[in-house]
Symmetry: D2
Subunit: 305 residues, 4 copies
């Protein structure tokens, strides 16, 4: 017995070309603007959906197959929380963002970053000022967030206070570093600049970690300003890898996890109501548009065999 479908076989010896995605190539270099002075610029990327399939298939010794089965595999990988095949794609962005957003962003450790240095260079007087509609009072129900809105006049007053504060800080900064004045070291003078000051960086990340970033930062609990960046990244992923995006929406963003207690309550209710409805001619639970395997798993999860 000598298996013939081993990956070491024939396809090894052909020259190949780097996979590319026209929808991304068209976006390379041009900024997508975010907030008042920010942007996201696609600089480079590696891999396409075929690259994910290729890596997943090395596991069982087969190459890429038809589009249908690739789509099935991609959805399968997402559904079953596979991670390593998604790490085979990589993306590099140039991002301009306020420092308080950068501080949330950098907490994602599995990524590569080069940031503008305010030790070497002079920071530009650009600060994030929220739009009137983005201003809101401190939430009372959720300690970590905003809730409600302001009237036009109130918003104007608040924006004026913030602008004044930024202008004063900028004036102090430029006064301190002025070569004909104090000529203070840049690394010290920047201490007076506000957290709204814009910075820039190159950020490179693999797809698995990018999706994890998006789960947290495109979530309604994330701060509105970082969500504005996450929204741009979501569009990029959708253009780059449409089937991955679709399955990410289906199995992550719009999926829901029930706890042990919730599953128990649900199964009890389903059993009772199913019997009741069966007796009385009531509605039945029916799941369409999925694979047979998913349908079976769904009913099993709810205690129906």
């Amino acid at each position: 017995m000598n298996p013939t479908d081993f990956p070491g076989d024939a396809p090894m010896f052909e020259n190949i070309v780097r996979p590319s995605v026209p929808a991304l190539d068209a976006r390379l270099g041009t900024p997508e603007f975010v907030l008042d002075h920010g942007f996201v610029r696609l600089i480079d990327y590696m891999g396409d959906e075929g690259a994910i399939v290729q890596a997943a298939r090395v596991s069982y010794g087969k190459g890429t197959k038809g589009v249908n089965s690739d789509r099935g595999l991609l959805r399968y990988l997402m559904r079953h929380w596979h991670t390593t095949p998604f790490e085979m794609c990589e993306i590099k962005l140039h991002v301009k963002l306020p420092i308080f957003v950068a501080r949330q962003w950098i907490r994602h450790r599995t990524a590569n970053v080069n940031e503008y240095s305010a030790r070497y260079s002079i920071l530009r007087a650009e600060f994030h000022l929220p739009e009137p509609g983005d201003l809101a009072p401190q939430s009372r129900t959720n300690r970590q967030g905003r809730d409600g809105s302001y009237g036009e006049d109130e918003a104007t007053v608040i924006r004026h206070k913030m602008t004044t504060s930024y202008e004063r800080a900028a004036a102090t900064y430029f006064d301190l570093i002025d070569e004909d004045g104090d000529d203070l070291a840049r690394e010290t003078a920047r201490e007076v600049l506000p957290l709204s000051t814009y910075t820039e960086w190159y950020w490179k990340v693999d797809l698995h970690n990018l999706l994890h970033f998006l789960r947290l930062r495109a979530d309604p609990h994330a701060q509105k300003e970082i969500r504005a960046y996450a929204a741009v990244l979501c569009k990029l992923v959708e253009a780059w890898l449409p089937t991955v995006w679709e399955s990410f929406v289906d199995y992550r963003l719009e999926a829901h996890t029930f706890s042990r207690q919730e599953m128990d309550a649900l199964r009890t209710y389903m059993r009772e109501v199913r019997e009741f409805a069966a007796d009385m001619g009531g509605p039945t639970l029916c799941l369409d548009g999925v694979t047979d395997r998913e349908r079976v798993a769904f009913h099993e999860a709810l205690g129906e065999y």
Copy 2:
């Protein structure tokens, strides 16, 4: 306005002692045996449940509170997929395991490892031989696994074939490295040893990554042999951090995630059946033993407001 509940306040200036967990101290050093020659030995640990709470509370500037609210916070952190506070605990183990298990284990990258070196040292003639009850034919429905069982005679034959294979490999190995014989370099001679050969390592990991390991390796889809190790680690976590373990079971191991399509089907059915049952005096869905907040979130998820 000058807040007085800032963490920089009073409690800073006291001398403290390292948190310890008596249930773990009693296990330090003594092996928990796994498979035929393997073991897991607890070598050291850092932190207890208070350490998780402490780190989580730095976020909102408060110290530890009473046991009840600590328990609530721990469950809240697990339910909402917080990760960084769980990284504040660390555990170090001495593990003896077959190489084919070690190869699955090492795929978890966020951990620290020092392994026995077969370049320096001579490997002992210890090989994993499955128990008769652990032998099973290749599964037909799940390409990655075993299914069914063997009769006593068949199992004896298979074990005999495996034992013979191991003994021959060991004989060749010891023959090759014999200083009065070939005296072959150990790093070369080990090439003949089977994947069942036992190795050892020290493995250190933080709690968040340990729980992730357990989600994957205590799962029924994991290979039976690594699950035997995962089962020992589960018991360790339970002894170390009982509330974390309980919430890990409730919100991970025995939780269930429904996809977007499944949630749509479920919500449609719930709406219909609820109306139907209400009209006809049928059963109602009711979730007990959870916080009010969880109960509200549960009904909301199912489309009831």
Copy 3:
């Protein structure tokens, strides 16, 4: 042939206690103050020098030996750039630090962090103000740094400008969040606060990554303010693991790396000058206080055999 020095043997079956280091236990909890409002507080640690030796020795199947040979092994590991045994120790700190320092610190990705959240909580009006002696003009030779010093009057003026800037920002912040005033969400109001604002976090890191942090942040090229924190961490490591610290100084901090071109120049010169000095009765190169192995390696590196 059946080796008897295998680590799986006897010592496995004893109960052990967690290693502790009295010099660290005495420091647990009490802050070491840094800059004007900052501190470093030791919260917990795992492992001692024996833990490093233990992990290193699993490689060749032996337990800990006498103090002398442990010391030799620790120096050997450091000299030969071994990393994994040093990952077996872990330390956890509570740190209060200005945000511009926190932004440099967080670039070290292999660590665990929980930070005070300015979304949840109100930031206290504490800002870093450099001491007069820490103020210096922008360096002309090194674009990234400060150079020279100010007269007393100049320093007073600069500090006054900075203080005024901080006070205005703080006044705006507290005005914006005042519940009887604008009641602006904290996550928005903090945008006006300066980069000098103090924050806090719990930071947990393994020894290998801590030493890497210290190589970069205790270096004269690091910004003076983060070096002040690094200096405290250096003292902690020295108290915790004196032999590791000594070898870190010898083989990293006060070591020097010569490039290929420099080694070529050095070897050429050494050959010529050695011959010259030998002929003329000049000085000889002699290295004391190291192992024979190091002495041989030293002369070999310089082209003497």
Copy 4:
């Protein structure tokens, strides 16, 4: 004062193309053979030397410059142990390698891997058999390695023993999994296969971590078999990023680090011999072919000012 060289300026708005390196494009897909059955195949890559320069320059707000200054910057980054700009390049390889080599390779954690699964799939009967010239007795001076060589007859005998061992193991494996025979689960049957069995994986890594891999695995202390793979990777890096490779050789592979004690001995000797040679008209130390800055730093390191 309003700086005009800010990276946010003009060049942002142009469409760009992905950087490519013709020398690598020519190699895409075709295997470079290693050992008796192994290979390394380039599958994809991201970035060129311009990408490193681009990321480094964001730090001080400038774009790419001429070739000369790019070269100077790349060498500067390598000399001063900068790491993050090198993380901006990424490479993906398909590698076929013996399991004992794979076990050394996988210890490099900062990389992405998808491996052939012996749970899903049948392993092919391909085993690593060392060439006669690669067989050597256990080293007596270095416990971790081989030393010396065998006569032709001895080598033949050893290879025969290894081959016999492999053939028996393979026969047992195929007997166990035979669907008409034992039909044993693949995940169990593979336990009898030797560590010399070939496996395959896709491996993706950033340039910084690849260079770290090469420092350790192209080193004479690494096992000869993994060095064979490292040699192929070295050639790939050289073709991809010639200036990076050159500076990696100059500042890492052929550089030398002297300890504190060695530097003290060297400085003492240099001072004495310099005075002696100056008096007597002896040779002088002279470093050519480097920048002025490097020359000054070189003499300073040796205690000459």
